[in-house]
């Protein structure tokens, strides 16, 4: 079956152990999580997980229902890439020597619209926010000059359509 990349957005209470409970749902079904981030959401005291997985269309529905079933999950949604605006941030640590010796590097930074976060006598750090292809492209270009460190964040995303989480909270007649 054809697998699609989905972004799952999960609104939750902020409790110890919830990450474990959510990740166990993927583990039980032998699904690899491609990226995961968690942060505060637009509503105070409600947290938001963004999880990216590649699964078939039938499985994503079941997965999201199982996630939503967890007591401290308020609501969960899933979207395809077309339905979201999403970004990742990458950091690249490069030897300062290369910045001054290799003219090309400065052009690469400029062309990729990356920012220089910090410059120290020994190293400098570049930040690039964008799609995976863009951060990957920059990675490939900088690699030949020697990367001291590279790291990329999980995906963060907002959906194009509203998720109406507050409405969801109010619709709980038990409250």
């Amino acid at each position: 079956m054809n697998k699609t990349k989905f972004t799952i957005s999960i609104y939750t209470e902020n409790n110890v152990g919830l990450l474990n409970r959510i990740s166990a749902i993927f583990l039980k079904r032998h699904i690899n999580i491609r990226s995961i981030t968690s942060s505060e959401s637009e509503i105070s005291n409600i947290y938001r997980f963004i999880i990216v997985v590649k699964v078939d269309n039938e499985k994503i529905v079941k997965l999201v229902k199982q996630i939503e079933k967890q007591i401290e999950v308020i609501a969960a949604f899933y979207h395809t890439d077309e339905e979201t605006i999403f970004l990742e941030t990458a950091l690249y640590k490069v030897k300062s020597k290369s910045l001054f010796n290799e003219r090309q590097i400065q052009n690469i930074i400029k062309d990729s619209r990356a920012n220089i976060v910090t410059v120290k006598p020994e190293y400098f750090v570049i930040e690039k926010t964008g799609w995976r292809e863009e951060t990957e492209d920059l990675y490939n270009k900088l690699k030949k000059y020697g990367l001291l460190q590279f790291v990329r964040s999980g995906r963060i995303s907002v959906s194009k359509k509203s998720m109406e989480i507050t409405k969801f909270l109010k619709s709980n007649k038990n409250v």
């Binding site: 409970r21 229902k65 007591i71 709980n172 409250v175």
Partner: protein, 563 residues
């Protein structure tokens, strides 16, 4: 003035939740709570099992016979891990249970202290909810939440882990407010009125409708609504193993069991009906066989409380979300009075075939070794369908569930989803304590009995008058049956050299008898029923009997084999 310890608060919470009995086993990290149990023993009765697994199964048996939340308690480390099998069993069979575990002091968490284990991490995938309490001030709120979560919506097990310092910690006063809602938890989903109308339309125009009901009917206390529903529509109804006893065996619309060892008609006709109405059941693979050839010709209506079960295994044409007690009641006014005589007669014809090929030979056996079915017949003859049946897992379970007669609901207690051998003995005495006025008969195989055999000690000490029937074929019978049918009779590690079960029971001062002969069977069963206290009857049965009908795993329900 600080005067109430966390441990005392725990007991007060239990009293507020009307818990008058709990099952457990003490140990270091839970001792403050046990100390309070000692002080409150006139209000909360603690039953000492012989292993923590027994405590969970007893709590499950208690919950299933009484309809209340079962409570099990254990210490940290091995005490807590020993609960896990029972918790997993309660999760898959939707049994309301609260488990309380002690934990090392919060200052020691993560230090690999003596008897420390991460029971929150371990129990997460098999609990409806769990929580670690590290401050006494949290106790009231967390217990209120735990009981609410365990019993509301689709019930399930909850685990509360309490660090030892939280048990000792003093708080100023004890206040308890019962939990009635949690903002992130939708216990019962809203019913779409359209779904009721759409379902009614399909039901009214169906020519060959067929109902399969599950435990949802029992958990929702919806037996009378369900019976009204089937009587008005005149639709034949079959049960999953956990739905058993919700409708009396003799009800004319009760056509038997579906699934791997279910009745012939319900299985074959699943693939002939034009409408399949699932009520409070989850299309387990033991019920459906191969999904690719399961009721493909039929429209499907699914009455269900858990949205995650809808379209999980079988796609529903109409899903009616909600508690079946409400939805079955609400749909009634849209339904035409009907009967399906010719269609029901078909079930009768299949029953006759099954009777000739299987039932008569087993249930009314006249020569050769004793069959499991004739032991059940003798139990039926002596209890008139009024007793609670508790079964373990395996051949005896299938036979007992197929043949036992029931007049009232909450009478069948078994490990369905998880298939936990060793379940029956502790579950039976839990069930007896949950409903002391009813006869409780545990039917157990010789294999499963030895998995929790130590609970004879708990039965003896608690004086629970459980009747234990061991169907002994000196084999792990179900595995042996599969070895015979699918592994060319290579009986790998299934033959059992068994101990003297009667002597063991007597060692626990439990009255016991062994029977081997057909002509003695009924007298011995009668004697067992009449006995006032706990009693064990070992019945030696035919060594290599198979359970039929059978749908080999991966086959279609309509390929059910009679021999």
């Amino acid at each position: 003035m600080k005067s109430i310890s966390g441990a005392e608060a725990v007991i007060r919470c239990l009293i507020k939740e009307n818990v008058d009995v709990l099952f457990g086993y003490p140990g270091g990290a839970i001792m403050p709570v046990y100390d309070e149990l000692y002080k409150f023993q006139d209000k909360v009765h603690h039953i000492l099992t012989r292993h923590e697994q027994g405590a969970t199964h007893a709590a499950q048996g208690y919950a299933r016979s009484s309809g209340k939340v079962g409570v099990a308690i254990a210490t940290s480390g091995p005490g807590a891990t020993n609960l896990v099998t029972g918790i997993a069993d309660a999760q898959i069979d939707s049994t309301p249970m609260v488990c309380i575990t002690g934990q090392v002091a919060s200052s020691l968490l993560g230090s690999d202290a003596f008897q420390e284990t991460d029971i929150i991490g371990i129990s997460t995938p098999v609990t409806k909810w769990n929580y670690q309490i590290t401050k006494a001030s949290e106790i009231s709120e967390i217990f209120a939440k735990a009981f609410y979560i365990a019993k509301s919506g689709r019930p399930g097990p909850v685990l509360i882990d309490i660090t030892k310092d939280a048990q000792f910690e003093l708080i100023e006063s004890f206040e308890y407010k019962k939990c009635k809602n949690i903002r992130s938890y939708f216990s019962v989903p809203e019913t779409d009125p359209e779904s009721l109308k759409n379902a009614a339309e399909l039901i009214n125009k169906a020519k060959k409708p067929f109902i399969v009901w599950g435990q949802g009917v029992i958990l929702g206390n919806a037996e009378s609504e369900f019976i009204k529903f089937i009587e008005k529509t005149g639709i034949p109804a079959a049960w999953t193993i956990l739905g058993l006893s919700a409708v009396p065996t003799e009800h004319p619309l009760n056509v038997g069991m579906v699934g791997m060892h279910g009745n012939y008609g319900p299985n074959v006709l699943t693939n002939e009906c034009d409408l399949l109405i699932a009520v409070g059941m989850r299309f387990d693979d033991r019920v459906t066989g191969n999904l690719n050839s399961y009721a493909k010709q039929a429209k499907i209506i699914h009455f269900e409380i858990d949205p995650a079960e809808v379209n999980k295994n079988v796609i529903a044409d109409v899903a009616v979300l909600g508690n079946v007690k409400d939805t079955l009641n609400d749909i009634l006014k849209f339904l035409d009075k009907n009967n399906h005589k010719d269609w029901i007669a078909k079930f009768g014809k299949f029953y006759d075939i099954e009777f000739d090929k299987v039932i008569d030979r087993e249930y009314n056996k006249k020569s050769g070794g004793l069959s499991m079915a004739e032991v059940i017949k003798s139990i039926n003859d002596n209890t008139n369908g009024e007793s609670i049946l508790v079964t373990d897992v395996g051949q005896h379970q299938m036979v007992a569930c197929r043949y036992t007669k029931f007049n009232q609901s909450k009478s069948n207690i078994t490990s369905g989803g998880l298939g936990t051998m060793g379940f029956a003995l502790p579950a039976a005495f839990g069930a007896k304590i949950g409903d002391p006025n009813r006869e409780v008969i545990a039917v157990i195989g010789d294999g499963g009995f030895q998995m929790t055999i130590q609970e004879l000690g708990a039965i003896f000490q608690s004086k629970a008058a459980v009747k234990i029937v061991i169907l002994n074929n000196n084999f792990l019978g179900m595995v042996r049956q599969w070895q015979q049918l699918f592994f060319d009779k290579r009986y790998a590690s299934t033959e059992m050299i068994n101990p003297d079960f009667v002597a063991i029971a007597k060692g626990y001062f439990i009255e016991a008898k062994k029977v081997e002969k057909r002509e003695k069977l009924n007298d011995e069963i009668k004697k067992m029923i009449q006995h006032k206290g706990p009693y064990l009857l070992e019945v030696i049965i035919e060594k290599e009997d198979n359970v039929f009908p059978m749908i080999p795993s991966g086959s279609s329900v309509s390929d059910v084999r009679l021999e």
